[in-house]
Symmetry: C2
Subunit: 272 residues, 2 copies
Amino acid sequence: MSFKQEWIRCQKLTEQALEERLPPADLPPETLHEAMRYATLNGGKRFRATLAILTGEMLGVETELLLPCAVAVECMHAFSLVHDDLPCMDDDDFRRGKLSCHAVYGEAMGVLVGDALQSLAIEVLAKDRSLIHLQHKTGNLVAVLSEAAGSTGLIGGQALDIALVESNGSIDLHTVFRLKTAKLIQSSVKLGALMSDDLDEQDYEALCEYGEAVGLAFQYIDDHLDGEHLEEDLFRKATEFKDQAISAVQRLNGTDSSNLVQAAKFVVERKY
Amino acid sequence: MSFKQEWIRCQKLTEQALEERLPPADLPPETLHEAMRYATLNGGKRFRATLAILTGEMLGVETELLLPCAVAVECMHAFSLVHDDLPCMDDDDFRRGKLSCHAVYGEAMGVLVGDALQSLAIEVLAKDRSLIHLQHKTGNLVAVLSEAAGSTGLIGGQALDIALVESNGSIDLHTVFRLKTAKLIQSSVKLGALMSDDLDEQDYEALCEYGEAVGLAFQYIDDHLDGEHLEEDLFRKATEFKDQAISAVQRLNGTDSSNLVQAAKFVVERKY
């Protein structure tokens, strides 16, 4: 299968898994649940979920067992988008080609939807029925995801991002990218890897390096596509991180890492 | 020791534990970390932490092992207060006798501080150094706290609360109280109980009933003190739930529940 086909397969699995795990819209509080579904089931790329699934599958983990991780990283990502779009943050009325969550449901609901999606991301890791016999893993999974989301991860990156313009160069863009984007993308790889029962430490470290480098490549390309900064420079950096990512997974012991190599290439080649 | 003395002891332990576990204000992103400390280390009652500590101690758990639970419930509570105070929510510029978080640090930072405190609450349960040999408990602890916080708990309760006025009676106040306040207070009791290694199921159920009833009594008294609703009626209900809470812990097998009984009484007698 080509990487594009693998990605589409993972997207479909993730949509289905999210559909099943998001609270139904007729469960009270109905508006909150409806808005959580609106903000999440709306055609995202599911790149984070795809990395979690492909990493785990590469290490021999059953696909079914990787779906809670896929759902968790996508809920965490959706939480961050909903809050980033708020009027007091980036004030964006559109997201993924439609009205953003707060534009439809109001600002207060936007805050609460983000809050509830962060909470659901963790709850899925801690309680999912398919992980019920794997409770010994929960501590590690939750530690990885909550750290990636927290004040020295995704949320801290957003704090730096809003301070960036007025920082007169004391905050550098690379740090913002690392915290705001790369940590969560890296955590997707880590979660997939932690679901394996016999991963050695060196391989885990190689995957951590891969995850961060892919995350950085992803964000440099995003800014390149947005035309926000000097484009040539951004593209060059993205390419460097892609190369670093590929060389990291090629160190894996006796594992066919071709899907992850393709994923890294795809990140840099994408046009959207 | 009187309950008041026990409470003060638990408050001191909690302040110290929070001080140690909140990220230092000189760790980047500095403003976020400073604001997280401002929002949390500011003289709260620490009632939730006290319940977690007293419940665990009653069941023979070492006090030291209960501090991550105490920190977790207080961070979760602080998160909810910071977001509740936002201009788009209750729009409160004062909290606990000083300026609220967003009034000092701005609205965007208010959103991020709440987000980061929710994340820290979970991270403490999953990673605290004092729980490192108790990783088998993490799944249950995290499940309890994230469920209490989520869309059918604290966050869901806030969603119902903001819809209450316009609901024309389709949302009742009791449901709001149960979700918005009682679930997190109940989870404090549950976390303390789950730290015990030999709790039987009936005792756990009695403690769950106690936790919810104390939480409801607490919120009915809060509204009574605020003078928001018909005062007589609120006080009568608070008293009923206090009695239910006390009768629940008196069912515990061979355990001296006097501290929890005192806690329930104190909730109804308090004047602040």
